[in-house]
Amino acid sequence: MLFPTPVGVAESLIQMERDGRLWTGLGRSMLRLGKGYALSIVLGVPLGIWVARVPFLERAVKPVVLGLQALPSVCWLPLAILWFGLTEASILFVVVMGSLLAIAIATEDAVRRIEPLLLREAGTLGVRGLRLYAGVLLPGALPGILTGLKLGWSFAWRALMAAELIVVSGGLGQLLHYGRELLDVAQVVAVMFSIVAVGVTVDRVLFRAIETRVWRRWGLSETR
């Protein structure tokens, strides 16, 4: 068996950083992730709010969403390849399917947990339609939605790596793939390390900062 040494991994990392492969790969991966994740939010949040507010959708759509959520996202890849071929679109499809459902489920739950008093107050004040959705339901559910977005992000990141390993088109997943083909264990481990680093950084720095701000504003920080 092949075991990398820490020095070997570090050297490989520095090497990839120097020749730009790391940054190119990271850039490509993040761009895709950004697109797919944004699409998941734009579709998942309204879907979740909708399912929470429309009893018919709750009966018809919620079981489907919950069922599909049990499917590991990489299982969408064969279908995606049949539909879109070995293309960018296939990767995006897998990323979206990986995170959209988690976001929708968390959003639905968060909307349901909004204080009923606030909804009644909105009703007596005559807040309806778009103003109710954008002004009360969305901000009211935001702390819960953020939890879903965090989960969705980690799902999206995993789905992306899985897809990039198979659909070769640049990105960190491809670097991992090449490392394997060249039997370069140090490179494989160095890329794995980078993938973890990106995941942890976004979670701890970006999401933590947003969450802290929202919780403080919503007056939740002291109570939990």
Partner: protein
């Protein structure tokens, strides 16, 4: 000592304050409740044969023990609960469903926690006032009216319970509802804050002359705030008495007249609760020796 004096002389020495039944007023009532009955699904008769007129600009307090149907009646007025029987009209129109022209306030200030005080008002005003500068201007005016100036930018969780209630009151008033319905709004506040809120509400009401229906189980609160005190009893929920409170404002809960009035109202409530056979005796022959006041019962009604 007091019992030794002839009653008439006693009456002349100590001014006696007696509440009088409300007189019917000329003109059409703003809120007209006619023979309203309500039964919940569990067969509880929450309201029986309720008829009530509230005139424009009146401050009416619904007073009674817990479970006498005060909240049920208020919800019916708000249109949040259709009564099983009877008719309710506001400005001549039957009440059907909730409407921002009849605002309902509860113990919970129900402010949107992610909005500042100012934003809470401005957001509510968006369904009423088109122009943005006018909304801001109206919000600022009402924030000032409840003495919250300086706290426009504060979030609800940064305020005390009393301040939150004031913000909620400002929001309700800024919507300029034709009727303001309040269900024990100060019930969760400490005694001192509650007193301050009562003074503030009186002051604001004198300035705005809104039509208010205010539910409470606190006798003094009803007397401090109301032009009329409608006394209710439970099982079944019904109206016992409808008193008129003719005292100048601002009123003080420790005012001698209010102390005596509240004794009279407690008496009425007690006799309603007493077993049927004893009810008459209880009001005619008060238990002597309880207190000087009880030895000289204040007559019920005119």
């Amino acid at each position: 000592m007091a019992t030794l004096l002839p009653t008439r002389l006693w009456a002349r020495l100590v001014p006696r304050w007696t509440l009088e039944p409300s007189r019917s007023k000329p003109g059409e009532a703003k809120i007209a409740v006619r023979e309203v009955e309500h039964r919940y699904e569990n067969k509880v008769e929450a309201l029986r044969n309720i008829s009530l007129d509230v005139h424009s600009g009146e401050f009416v307090c619904l007073l009674g023990p817990s479970g006498c149907g005060k909240s049920t009646l208020l919800l019916a007025l708000a249109g949040a609960l259709p009564p099983t029987c009877g008719r309710i009209t506001i400005d001549g129109k039957p009440v059907k469903g909730p409407d921002p022209s009849r605002l309902l306030m509860f113990q919970d200030p129900a402010l949107f926690p992610w909005m500042t005080v100012r934003q809470n008002l401005v957001f509510a005003l968006r369904s009423k006032v088109r122009s943005r500068p006018r909304r801001e201007e109206t919000a600022a005016r009402y924030v000032k009216r409840v003495h919250l100036d300086g706290f426009e930018g504060a979030l609800p969780h940064q305020l005390s319970g009393g301040m939150r209630m004031r913000a909620s009151l400002a929001r309700a008033l800024s919507m300029d509802p034709s009727v303001l319905l309040m269900d024990e709004p100060f019930g969760a506040l400490d005694a001192q804050t509650k007193g301050q809120m009562q003074q503030l509400l009186q002051q604001v009401w004198v300035e705005t002359r809104k039509t208010v229906v205010f539910v409470t189980h606190d006798v003094r609160e009803a007397l401090v705030l109301g032009d009329r005190v409608v006394v209710m009893a439970a099982r079944p929920g019904r109206i016992l008495k409808d008193f008129e409170v003719r005292l100048p404002r601002p009123r003080d809960p420790d005012d001698e007249a209010i102390v005596q009035y509240s004794r009279q109202i407690r008496e009425a409530l007690r006799s309603a609760e007493a077993p049927k056979g004893h009810a008459k005796d209880a009001s005619a022959v008060p238990a002597s020796g309880l207190s000087a006041g009880a030895a000289h019962p204040v007559g019920t009604g005119g």
